[in-house]
Every structure is written in structure tokens, then in C-alpha cells.
């Protein structure tokens, strides 16, 4: 199957696909801009960007060979690798976890311990790993309620604490008229629970068979990110165009905020230039493994160098 996908067309161009884990938004601005600005084409890649609708798993898609590359979180890929799927991380894009818990000041939750006995909205699956580690760390028992993809229940005070992505839900709360100083925020990254988020993955066989393609793909993607950070207005216009095509219920102010937060995450403890980006830190890798093992989600820790064979870009 791989052979089919990775076949070169008549012009000698490499056809490839990347699937990101959600609908179009500024979270993927770099890939969008790399495509829009022809950076993939310049590397000789005929590129296609695919968006998940949340109901499928891009990791499953690369395992099945439907797509060559995908973006995913360490909390998803490490267990998958341990289960025998031969994934490799070829670029750890986001360095800082945007996941957080938010409480209204009016609910009088100032410290993690204040969450004891409260009703807390949690997302299911991988999104619950960090919160659970957090609650375990502080020995918090609480009433868990399943959280949907909006913040309405939190706004309605149906629960006291909500899960949020700093780049998305947190700002939606602000856009619902609640001021930042009326909220207490708990960033997991500040509680030694920093799970680096979006990274680019492919099968090891893809990397082995076509290292050139991987290198070019990552190169072009990072160029796209660099371009997005340097040309935010243009980027936001294009991102909004993608959002409209996918009937996303979003606005440019939110996407602008998202792009800023994503930029901070890409540059977190790395640097300003794109050659500094994309490295998976062994500490973060170990931390994620440790939490996963604690929660019984991981039995055998993968070897760091096999999981992340090195930066696949210049």
C-alpha cells in the first residue's frame, strides 16, 4: 500500500498526504500556509492536507496506510508504539501543553485542593490523562461530568471546573463576556505535567524507505509555520477561508488568539528560528511515559531514540 501512495508521478514529484487531528483552524496554520505558499511544491512534493472530523483517528489512518503522515499527541502515539505500531515522531512541533483547567473566581477555587468535591467537566479519552494525573497528584476526589466540545455548561455554572485548551476554549470563555481576571487557571504545564501536543508522525518504514520525503515534508511544514508567524494577518485570512469551507463556528479574533498561543508553544524552550523547532525533549518523553504507566495506559516504555529518531529537518 505504501508503495502505491509513495509512488512518484510522471513529473518525478512525490505524492504525499498529511492528516491533522481536527478541523481547519489556526492550530494547523503552518501546514495550511506551507501548502498555500507552495513550500511543499518547492520541495518537489505533491502535497495533500487532510482534516479529521474528530470521529476518526489519523494514527489509525497512517497505520492503515491511508495517509503517509499525521499529527498527534504523545499521549496517543506512545501507547500505540508500545502496542506494536511502528510509529516514529519526525517533528515535535508543539512543546508546551495548552491543556488546562479553568474555574470561575466566583466558585472560590484558588488552589488545586479547592477542587475537592467539586463537579468537574472532563473530556474523554486522551484528553483525560493529564487531568487525571493532576487530580492524582493533588489527591483530589470530584464529581466527573462528561464535557462536550463547548463551554456552555461551564458558562451556565453546570459545573465548577472545566477542561480547556488555552488556545481555544479558554478564549471562548473570554468571548462569552467573562474577563480574564474573573477566572482562575490551572495550566498542566505548570504542574510538571507538560505533555507536548501536536507532533508529526509516520510509520518507521516510511522514514526508512523515503528519508528524503520525510525531510522535505518537515522542512516545508516548518517553513510554513515560520511564514505563518511572520505574516499573521495574511495567515488568518487564509485560515478563515478554510474554516468557512468547513462551516466552522469560529471567528477571526479567536483564530488570531489561537495562532499566538500556538506560536508560543512552538517556540517554548526552543528558539525563534525554525532550525530550533521540532525536537522532542527526552524529559518530556519520559514524563509522558511515566504518567501513562502510572495510569496503566502503558506497560512497556518505548525507546526514546526509536520513537524520535532525530530531527528530520535542516
Amino acid at each position: 500500500m505504501l508503495v502505491i501512495v509513495l509512488s512518484a508521478d510522471d513529473g518525478g514529484k512525490l505524492k504525499t498526504t498529511l492528516k491533522v487531528q481536527w478541523f481547519p483552524q489556526a492550530q494547523f496554520a503552518g501546514f495550511i500556509m506551507a501548502m498555500e505558499k507552495g513550500f511543499y511544491q518547492a520541495e518537489g512534493i505533491e502535497f495533500d492536507l487532510l482534516f479529521s472530523d474528530g470521529s476518526d483517528s489519523p494514527i489509525e489512518n497512517i497505520i492503515s496506510g491511508e495517509v503517509d503522515f499525521c499529527t498527534a499527541w504523545l499521549s496517543q502515539t506512545i501507547p500505540s508504539k508500545a502496542q506494536g505500531n511502528d510509529l516514529v515522531n519526525i517533528c515535535q512541533l508543539l512543546q508546551k501543553s495548552s491543556m488546562m483547567l479553568v474555574a470561575k473566581k466566583s466558585s472560590n477555587i484558588k488552589e488545586p485542593q479547592d477542587m475537592n468535591g467539586r463537579r468537574i467537566g472532563l473530556w474523554s479519552g486522551d484528553f483525560s490523562i493529564q487531568p487525571n494525573a493532576f487530580f492524582e497528584k493533588f489527591g483530589i476526589s470530584f464529581e466527573q461530568v462528561p464535557q462536550s466540545y463547548n463551554i456552555h455548561a461551564f458558562l451556565a455554572d453546570a459545573w465548577d471546573v472545566t477542561s480547556a485548551m488555552y488556545y481555544n476554549e479558554y478564549h471562548k470563555i473570554i468571548q462569552a463576556g467573562i474577563n480574564e481576571n474573573e477566572l482562575n487557571s490551572f495550566f498542566f504545564s505548570e504542574f510538571d505535567l507538560n505533555f507536548p501536543e501536536d507532533g508529526i508522525y509516520c510509520l518507521k518504514s516510511t522514514l526508512d524507505d523515503n528519508p528524503e520525503l520525510c525531510r522535505k515534508m518537515v522542512n516545508a511544514s516548518l517553513k510554513g509555520w515560520e511564514y505563518a508567524f511572520q505574516h499573521k494577518d495574511e495567515t488568518l485570512q487564509i485560515v478563515m477561508k478554510y474554516c468557512d469551507e468547513y462551516y466552522m463556528q469560529t471567528n477571526i479574533a479567536l483564530q488570531s488568539w489561537m495562532l499566538d498561543v500556538i506560536e508560543q508553544s512552538v517556540k517554548y524552550k526552543t528558539g525563534e528560528t525554525r532550525s530550533d523547532w521540532g525536537y522532542l525533549k527526552e524529559y518530556d518523553f519520559n514524563k509522558v511515559c511515566e504518567i501513562l504507566m502510572n495510569q496503566g495506559l502503558l506497560k512497556q516504555k518505548p525507546i526514546y531514540n526509536e520513537f524520535f529518531p532525530g530531527a528530520q529537518h535542516e
Partner: protein, 639 residues
Amino acid sequence: MNNKIKRPILWKLILIIGIPLFVVYSAVLIINYNLSKDAALKQEKAYMVEFIARNAAQLNGQFTQITDLPRGMSNIIQSINDINKEEIYSLLEQNLAGNSFIYGMAVAFEPYAFNKSKKLFAPYVRKGSDQFTHLDLADNSDYTNSDWYSIPKLLKKPYWTEPYFDKDGGNILMCTYSFPLIWDEKFYGIATADVSLVELHSYMQKMQKLTGYSFIISQYGTYVYHPQENTIMKETIFSKAEKYNIPEMREYGRKMLRGLSGVEPFSDPITQAKQWLVFAPISSCSWTFCGVVPESEILKDVNASILKQITLMFFGLIVILLIIIWSAYQITNPIRRLAKMAEKLADGDLDVQMQNIKGRDEIHELSVSFNKMVADLKHYISDLTNATKAREAVESELRIARHIQESLIPRIFPPFPNRSEFKLWAKNIPAKEVAGDFYDFYFVDEENLAIIIADVSGKGVSASLFMAVTKTLIKAKSNVLNEPEKIMQRVNEDLCYENDAVMFVTTFFALLNVKTGLLTYSNAGHNLPYLIKKDGLPEQIENTGGMALGVFEDAVFAAKEITLQEGDTIFLYTDGINEAMDVDYNEFSYKRMEDILKNIQGKMPKKIIEDTLEEVETFTLGAEQSDDITLLVLKYFGI
């Protein structure tokens, strides 16, 4: 008069009337505008508040009805034991029919709450084109995680959802009102009413329009209704405030969320035009009804009225300007005519007259005065012309008299060119047209030369006539008598006879024997002549003691003799020389005269006379000649 007038009266009038008027009018206009603007704003704000509140209340009524239905259903379902599926559908249909806003209604039960063998059951009825459609929401998804179910369940109270697109039940953009079925403190499920935002949109479109536009936001600021449909579900009032960077809009939004009403200003992010945001709560759903009105719309009438006033003012000012120009013309025209007349007058036209002087004002007075002045001037000039004519006639007579007088005294110089015994020169300069002085010289016989110099009292015509008489008498007497004292005596007697004018004449008479140089003379009150001996100083000759002729009939005259030597000069003069006055009334004096005579050695009589007159002229420079001047100089050479 050709100089251009620098500040015409017209400009002065415009300056003192037009400009203050303009300033006052403008000030009134500005004040009026501000007052009208404030009043219009106040009135319009009140109207907008009322309008928004009324519409909010209307919507609130509609939504209260909507909220009543699920509550009512809850009570009915609770009251019926073992209610069956059909009964619920029928109940839903009945409720649904009554309200146009409601698109669909459901009763969603908690797992196993309706039927112990069926986990989820949520009968749903929605409006079709002409009939109701029955659905079970459980067929499509697990509704228990939906906002409309989970949130009111957790809250244990009714809840209005944010707008959402329902693909399971309604397939439409909607908001759902959820009423929890809590009986005996136990939660059984949710009764819902779906409000179609499409229906709300068409309701809003039909609503009486406010200038500008209106919109509705939800309890969290989400647009529920907005004329730009693409903002619904995407934007909140806060995201717009963020997008356009209008921090105050965020504050207004927060007021709305607190259920407050308000009228607040903001600037349009694109046009920067001032806008007014008016809002009032729709309390039954915690939404807010908002209106946005551009201030320009509010002030449209005020601006139109001000524009009218400005136009009126403009035309008013033009009328006033025309009046000013007309008034200025009324004032300046006669003045200008006067000025032209005066100019003509200055050029000598005495026939000018100000015509058609209307009114009884200062200009009229000035014109009358001018006319009087012209008339007076005319009279004066006429008198002056006559006087001048008369004077010219007299002067003409006098000129003739002078000619006659001049012809009386010897005028041919040198007088005796064939005589070598002496040289003689004389000069008479009258102070007036005719002189009272005279000189004369003539030979009475072969050897004896008569020399006369005389000065008649007074000047002018009478003096000259008296002089003519005297001269004639002297000449007549000297032809028959050869003794000077006797000649004097006889002339005196003749002059005194019937001398009613009481005139007199000082006379020096001498007879010079040109062969011997013997000079016999008799003086009748005249200034004594000087004898300047050759190489000597000037000396007055001795007096003979006689009185001026014409004073006393019986006067006695004597004679004396001197003998002139070769080179001696005798200098005869009238008091016109020694009494000649400069501008400061200083007399020329004998001393100055004698100083001249000290330096005449070697000079001939003509030159002596010229030098003397030159000195006198220099001395009297600038002063009028006060008396006749007569000089006679004789230089004796002998045989």
C-alpha cells in the same frame, strides 16, 4: 482726486454692520445647532429606549409563552399514570400547534425512565410543511450528552441553549428551551421546545424597523439574530469587540449579560462614524434585544434644519449686504458728486451747483453749504475781477505818467559827449510807478551848467505832478535869472501860491562854470552833496541855510561858491540812498555812503553810480524799496 480711496465707506459699513451681524448670526446658529442636537439626541435616545424596550417586551411575551409549554407538559405527564407513547406525541402536537416560533418539541427521558426495557426514549414532534413529523431522538444519538439535556439536568432548572444546528431532530438552526422533569425531587428527563432562528429571523424582518439595525444576543453574548446571518453562531458581541478593538463594546456586552438596559455610544470600526447602541433585556430567555443607530440618522432632521437655516442666513446676509451697498451708495454718491464739483471748482469752474439734493440730512446740509460757498466765491471773484480791472486802468495811467515824467528829465547818457570839461551821470529809480525825486542838468548859457536834484514830499502821482511843476519852474526861472538864490526864491514864491496840497520839495540847485570850475549853489532843505577832491576824502559842502521850497512864501535863500579843481567829483543824492532800509529796518546811513565815496578815485560818474546802487541793493536785499532813489555825479576836468 485721482488717488484711489484706501478705505471706502462701503467697506467700513460692511466691517461695522455686516461682520458683527455675521458673527452674531453664526453664534446663534451654533448655539441653536447644539441645543437642537442635544434635544434631538435626548428625544431620539428616549424613543430608541422605548422602542427597544417595547420590542424586547413583545419578544419576552412570545418567549414566556414558549417556556410555559414544556412546563405545562411536565405537569400533564406527571399527572397521567403510565402515559403511553401516543399520548405523549399527541400532547406534543397540541402544544406545538399553538406557537409559531416553536419548530419542534420533545420529551427526552432519562435512561430507562420511560420504559424499563428501553434505555433511551425521546419522542419528538416537528412541524413539516403541512403536517407533523414524529421522531424518536434516541434513534440517532445519545442525547444525554447534548447541551439541551445535560445542562438543565445538572442545573436542575430550565435552560435556554445557545444557538446550534440540530442535525438529529430539527435539521435547522435553533435554540432549545429545556425544562427538567423533576418530580418528587427525582429527575426523569427533559421537556423541550425548539425555537427556530429562521422563524425568529423572519419575525424580526417583519418588525417595525428602527433606523440602523437591530440584533439579539444570547445570555453569553452569542448572536441569536443579526441581519448579517453569517455572524450567527460564529461571533459573539465580545469577539466583535475584540476583532474591531472596541473595548467599550465589551463593557456594554457585559452589561447586557447582567440583564441591564442602556444607551451607549461607540464608533463604527470601519467608518469611525458615531453610533448609538441601545439595549434592553428579554428576561424570559436572558437574551438582549439591541439596536444600533448611527448618530447621523438621529441628527438628520437637525442637520437638515440647520442647513436650511444656513441657507436662509446666507441669503439674509446677501440681502443685508445689498442694503449696505445701497446705503453706502446713497451716502457716498452725493459726497462723490460734491468731490467732483469741488474738483471742477478747483479747476476754475464757478458755475458748478449741487443739484437734486434730497433729504434733510447732513449731506444735504453740506451740499447747501457748498452751493453757498460757490456763490460767495463767485461774488468774491467777480468783485476781485472788477477791482483788478480798475487797478489795471490806474496802473496803465501811471505807466503813461511815468513815461511822461521820464521824458521830463534828461535821459540821454552820456549827456554832453562833445564837452571835455566834465563827465556827468545820473539815475532816478522811483519807489512807485512815478517818482517824486528828480534831477536835471542843462546849460543856461555857453559856459554855465545848471545841476538840480530835488525830492518832493510824498510819493506817487501827486509828488510827480508837483515835481513836474517844480522842474518846469526851475528851468523857466534859471533861463532868466543867473543867481541860484534868486531862482530858488522865485520858484518858492510860485510853488507856495495856491499850494493847497501843502506839498514841498527839497532842492539843491547849482550853476557850474565849466571853464573856471566855479560852482555857485543854493540849497533848499536838501541833503548836502559831497565834494570829493582829487585824492581826497568825501566832504559835504557847506549849507546855504535855505528851507524846502513850497513851505513859506517869504522864505529867504542864500548862495555859496566853491571852485572845482581838475579831478574833483561832486556827488548829489536824495535821502532814498542814506535812508534805504534792509529787512530789519536798519538804514543804509551816511557812513556806508561815505565809505563808498572814499573809494571812487579814478572812477567815472557812471561807475560811481553803479557801485553805489549795487551796495544799496546788496544792503536792502529782500526788502521793498521804500523811497525814490536819485543820484547825480559830476566829475570835473577843467579846460
